[in-house]
C-alpha cells in the first residue's frame, strides 16, 4: 500500500568521520604492525619469566658495547626527526636520512660485535637459557630493525632518483614512527636483558 508513496533521494548519507584512502590506511597499518610486534615481544618476555622460574638460571655480564649501540640507536631517532623537519621546511632530507641509515647500520653491526664478544667468552646460543634469550631478543629485534633500514633505503633511493619533492610525506612519517618504536622497543629489551639476564 505504501509502496506507491515511495520517494527517492531523501535520505542523507551519514559520512564517515575519517579521511579515507591509502594514506590513512598506511598510517593505521604501521600502528597495527607495531601492535603485533609488541605482542610478539610480550610473548617472548613471558617465556623468559616462565623459563626463569623453571630452573638452570645463571647470569651474564653484558658487554658494554650494548650501551654504545643503544646510544647510536637513540641518536638515530633524533636524526630521523631532523629529516622530517627538513622535509617540512621543503628542504632535502637526504643528508639526515643518510646519517640515520648509517647510525642504524652501525647499531646492527654493533649487535653483531656483541654476539662475537659473547662467543669469545664461550657464550653461545645454546650455552645456557640466559645466553639463549640474549641471542633471541637481540636477533629478533635486529631483524625488525633491518625492516626499518629497508624502508630508509627505499626513501633515500626515492629522493636520489626523483628529488625530495617526489617523496610522499606520509611515507617518511610512517618510517619515523616505526623507527622510533624500534628505539623504544630496544630500551625495553635492554631493561629486561640487564635486569633478568
Amino acid at each position: 500500500m505504501a509502496a506507491t508513496t515511495l520517494t527517492t533521494a531523501t535520505s542523507q548519507p551519514v559520512f564517515s568521520p575519517r579521511l579515507q584512502g591509502p594514506t590513512e590506511a598506511s598510517r593505521s597499518g604501521i600502528w597495527v604492525g607495531i601492535f603485533a610486534i609488541i605482542m610478539s615481544f610480550a610473548a617472548l618476555t613471558s617465556s623468559l619469566l616462565v623459563r626463569q622460574g623453571s630452573g638452570e638460571w645463571s647470569h651474564i655480564v653484558l658487554p658494554s658495547l650494548l650501551y654504545a649501540n643503544t646510544a647510536a640507536l637513540l641518536l638515530s631517532s633524533f636524526t630521523m626527526e631532523m629529516a622530517r623537519r627538513a622535509l617540512a621546511k621543503s628542504a632535502g632530507p637526504s643528508m639526515w636520512l643518510t646519517v640515520t641509515l648509517i647510525l642504524g647500520l652501525s647499531f646492527v653491526c654493533g649487535q653483531y660485535l656483541v654476539w662475537r664478544h659473547l662467543a669469545a667468552q664461550g657464550l653461545y646460543l645454546a650455552t645456557n637459557p640466559n645466553s639463549s634469550f640474549l641471542y633471541v631478543f637481540t636477533g629478533v629485534h635486529a631483524l625488525h630493525l633491518l625492516g626499518g633500514i629497508a624502508m630508509l633505503v627505499y626513501l633515500l633511493a626515492h629522493v636520489v632518483v626523483g628529488g625530495h619533492t617526489s617523496l610522499r610525506r606520509h611515507r617518511l612519517d610512517n618510517t619515523a614512527i616505526y623507527w622510533h618504536f624500534m628505539g623504544g622497543l630496544w630500551l625495553y629489551l635492554l631493561f629486561v636483558i640487564s635486569t633478568r639476564l
Binding site: 535520505s11 598506511s26 597499518g29 616462565v50 623459563r51 623453571s54 639463549s132 629478533v140
Partner: protein, 590 residues
C-alpha cells in the same frame, strides 16, 4: 551531491598478463579465490586422512591399496602402523585447523567480500595481500612435503606438545625433519596470517566508502574485522613460539625441554626447559584460533539467514557486541586446554570462570538466530539450509562445552573421544557448514554462475545427518572411557565398543563420499552453471550492487554512497521487499 564526491583513486592498474591476472595477482578477489582453492585442496586431503584413520580403527589389518607407495615404513604392505596413525592424526589436525578453517572463511571469503562490502576498490595493501597468500601457499607445500620425506610426518599432534615435539628424531618417527617441516610451515603460516590481519584491519578502518559507518557494515564484515583483530594477537604469539621450538630442535637450546630427559636410553643434552611453557604459548594462540575459525562462519550465516528470512534479525547490534565479547574473552580461557597438564589447580579454577562466561555471548547469538526465525517465511536454499545446520551443530557441539569447562569433569573426559566429539561439532563441522553456506550463497558472485540447488540440498542432507552420525557417538564413547589418539583398542572394555566405531566409520565414509557431490557441483557449475544475475538472492549489501563477477576495480567508475544500515529486509522497496545500502530511496516498513 554525488558530483562533489572525489573520484575513486585506483590502488593498482588493471591486471595484464597471465601471471599478474591469475598467479601473482594484486586483486583481492583473485587472492580470495586462491585462498579458497588452497582450502579446498587442504580439506579434501584432510578428509582422506580422516578416512584412513577411521578405516584403520575398525579394520586394523586391512591393506590400503597404494598407501605403501607414500610411506614404506608407515604403511608396510598398505597396513597402517600405530606411529603412522599418529602421523595421519597430526597432519589431519594441522591441515584442517590452519589451512581450511582459517583459510576459507576468513582469508578466502574475507578477502573477496570485505573490500566490496565496505565500498573499497581493493585491500589497503595489495602487495602485502599477495605476499600473504603466497607465504601461506609456501607453508602448505612445506607441510605436505613431510609426507614424502623418509622420516614421514610428525607424530606429535596438531598441538605439537613439547618435549615430544622438541627433542628430535630420537623420540620417534617423524620427529626429525618431519617435525622441522611442521614448525617451519606453521611459522610461515603465522607470517601470512599476520600480513592478512594487518590488511583487513587497515582496510576496514580506512577504506570505507562515504556513509559506511562502522555500525552500517554488514555483520559478516564485522566478523572478519573482529577475527583479524584476534588473528593479529594470536599469530603474533605463535610465531615466536615456533621460533623457540625450532631453536630447541635445531640449535640445541632448552626452552621447552626439561632436565634429565632420557629417550631411547639416551640422556638428552638439554636442561631446565619448561614443557608447560609451550602449552601456554600454544593455547594462548590455540583457543583464539577456535574463534578465528568460528566467528567468520557466524558472520556468514547471519548474513545468509537475514537474506533468506526476508526480515531483520532481532538485533544486529547485539550480534556484533556478542562477537566482540567473544573475541575479548577468547584471550582469557586458554588454560582450559591445560586442566590435566599439571598446571596449578588454582589456575584451572581461574580459567574455568571465563570459559563458562564465554558461553553467555555464544548463547545470546544462538537465541538471536533462533528468535529471528520465529515468524520468518524463510527461503529454503542450499545456503540457508547450511546456515540452519550451522546453528544446529553449534548448539549440539556447544552444549558439551559446559561440561568440559569444569576442571573436575574435564579431568575425566579430557583424554577421551568426548572432547573429539565436542570440538569437531562446535568448531570443525560448524565452521565447515559456515563455509559451505557461504559457498552456495556467494558462488554466483564469485564465479558469475549459479550452483545447482538440487545437488546442493542433497549434499546438505547427507552432510547434516552424516556428521551427526559421526560425532554424536563420540560423546557416548568418551563417557564410557574410550581414550582418544589410540590407533587400536586393546583394553578389556574397548572391543565392546567396536560396533559403535564401525557405525562411525561407515558414516564417515558415506558423508565423505557425499562431499564429492559438492565438488562435482562446484566444478560443473563453474563452467556450465546458469549465468548469475547481479543480485540473485535479493540481497542488500554492496556486493549485490556490482555485476557477477565484479570487474577488476569492483565498482568501475562508480563511487558508492551508503544511505542505510546493512540489512533492510521486510520493507517496501522499489525492487521488492528490500532496500539496498546504496539506494537513496526512503525506507518504508511494510
Amino acid at each position: 551531491m554525488e558530483q562533489t564526491l572525489p573520484q575513486p583513486v585506483h590502488v593498482h592498474a588493471p591486471p595484464k598478463g597471465f601471471l599478474r591476472k591469475y598467479v601473482f595477482s594484486l586483486d583481492h578477489k583473485v587472492i580470495g579465490k586462491q585462498y579458497y582453492g588452497l582450502a579446498l585442496i587442504a580439506v579434501f586431503t584432510g578428509m582422506i586422512l580422516s578416512w584412513l584413520m577411521r578405516f584403520h580403527l575398525v579394520w586394523p589389518n586391512a591393506k590400503i591399496l597404494g598407501l605403501d607407495l607414500i610411506s614404506k615404513t608407515g604403511a608396510p604392505g598398505g597396513v597402517i602402523t600405530p606411529e603412522y596413525y599418529l602421523s595421519l592424526l597430526t597432519m589431519h589436525g594441522t591441515l584442517m585447523v590452519f589451512f581450511v578453517l582459517t583459510n576459507a572463511p576468513f582469508a578466502g571469503f574475507g578477502n573477496f567480500f570485505l573490500p566490496i562490502q565496505i565500498g573499497a576498490e581493493d585491500m589497503a595493501f595489495p602487495r602485502f595481500n599477495m605476499m600473504s597468500f603466497w607465504t601461506t601457499a609456501a607453508a602448505f607445500v612445506v607441510l605436505v612435503l613431510a609426507f614424502f620425506i623418509p622420516d614421514g610426518p610428525p607424530i606429535s599432534g596438531w598441538t605439537a606438545y613439547a618435549p615430544l615435539s622438541a627433542v628430535g628424531k630420537d623420540a620417534g618417527p617423524g620427529l626429525g625433519w618431519g617435525q622441522n617441516l611442521w614448525a617451519i610451515s606453521i611459522g610461515l603460516f603465522c607470517i601470512g596470517q599476520l600480513l592478512g590481519s594487518l590488511n583487513f584491519i587497515a582496510t576496514t578502518l580506512d577504506l570505507r566508502t562515504k556513509g559506511m559507518t562502522l555500525m552500517r557494515m554488514p555483520i559478516c564484515t564485522w566478523a572478519w574485522f573482529i577475527t583479524s583483530c584476534i588473528g593479529l594477537l594470536a599469530f603474533a604469539v605463535l610465531l615466536p613460539a615456533c621460533l623457540l621450538l625450532i631453536l630447541d630442535r635445531m640449535a640445541g637450546t632448552s626452552f621447552f625441554i626439561p632436565s634429565g630427559l632420557v629417550i631411547s636410553d639416551r640422556l638428552q643434552n638439554h636442561a631446565g626447559g619448561s614443557p608447560l611453557l609451550w602449552q601456554h604459548l600454544f593455547w594462548f594462540f590455540g583457543h583464539p584460533e577456535v574463534y578465528i575459525a568460528i566467528l567468520p562462519a557466524m558472520g556468514i550465516i547471519s548474513h545468509v539467514l537475514v537474506t533468506s528470512m526476508r526480515k531483520p534479525l532481532l538485533s544486529a547490534k547485539v550480534i556484533i557486541y556478542s562477537m566482540i565479547s567473544i573475541g575479548f574473552l577468547s584471550y582469557m580461557v586458554w588454560g582450559h586446554h591445560m586442566f590435566v597438564s599439571g598446571m596449578n589447580p588454582f589456575s584451572s579454577l581461574l580459567f574455568s570462570f571465563p570459559t563458562l562466561t564465554i558461553t553467555i555471548p555464544a548463547t545470546i547469538l544462538t537465541l538471536i538466530w533462533m528468535g529471528s526465525l520465529y515468524g520468518a517465511n524463510i527461503r529454503i536454499t542450499s545456503a540457508s539450509l547450511f546456515a540452519l545446520g550451522f546453528v544446529s551443530m553449534f548448539v549440539s557441539g556447544g552444549v558439551s562445552g559446559f561440561f568440559l569447562a569444569q576442571p573436575s569433569i574435564d579431568i575425566y573426559l579430557h583424554a577421551t573421544y568426548f572432547v573429539v566429539g565436542h570440538f569437531h561439532m562446535v568448531m570443525g563441522v560448524a565452521a565447515i557448514f559456515g563455509i559451505l553456506s557461504g559457498t552456495y550463497f556467494w558462488f554466483p558472485k564469485m564465479f558469475g554462475r549459479m550452483m545447482n540447488e538440487t545437488l546442493g540440498k542433497v549434499h546438505f542432507w547427507f552432510t547434516f545427518i552424516g556428521t551427526y552420525c559421526i560425532f554424536m557417538p563420540f560423546h557416548y564413547l568418551g563417557l564410557v572411557g574410550n581414550v582418544r589418539r589410540l590407533a587400536s583398542f586393546v583394553d578389556d572394555f574397548m572391543p565392546a565398543l567396536m560396533p559403535v566405531h564401525r557405525f562411525v566409520t561407515i558414516a564417515a565414509l558415506i558423508t565423505g563420499a557425499a562431499q564429492f557431490i559438492f565438488l562435482y557441483n562446484f566444478i560443473h557449475s563453474r563452467f556450465r552453471g546458469k549465468p548469475a544475475p547481479a543480485n540473485p538472492w535479493d540481497g542488500t549489501s554492496l556486493e549485490w550492487s556490482v555485476p557477477s563477477p565484479p570487474p577488476w576495480n569492483n565498482f568501475g567508475d562508480r563511487h558508492p554512497v551508503i544511505y542505510h544500515d546493512a540489512h533492510q529486509y521486510g520493507v517496501k522497496g522499489l525492487h521488492g521487499d528490500f532496500v539496498m545500502q546504496d539506494s537513496p530511496e526512503q525506507i518504508v516498513r511494510g
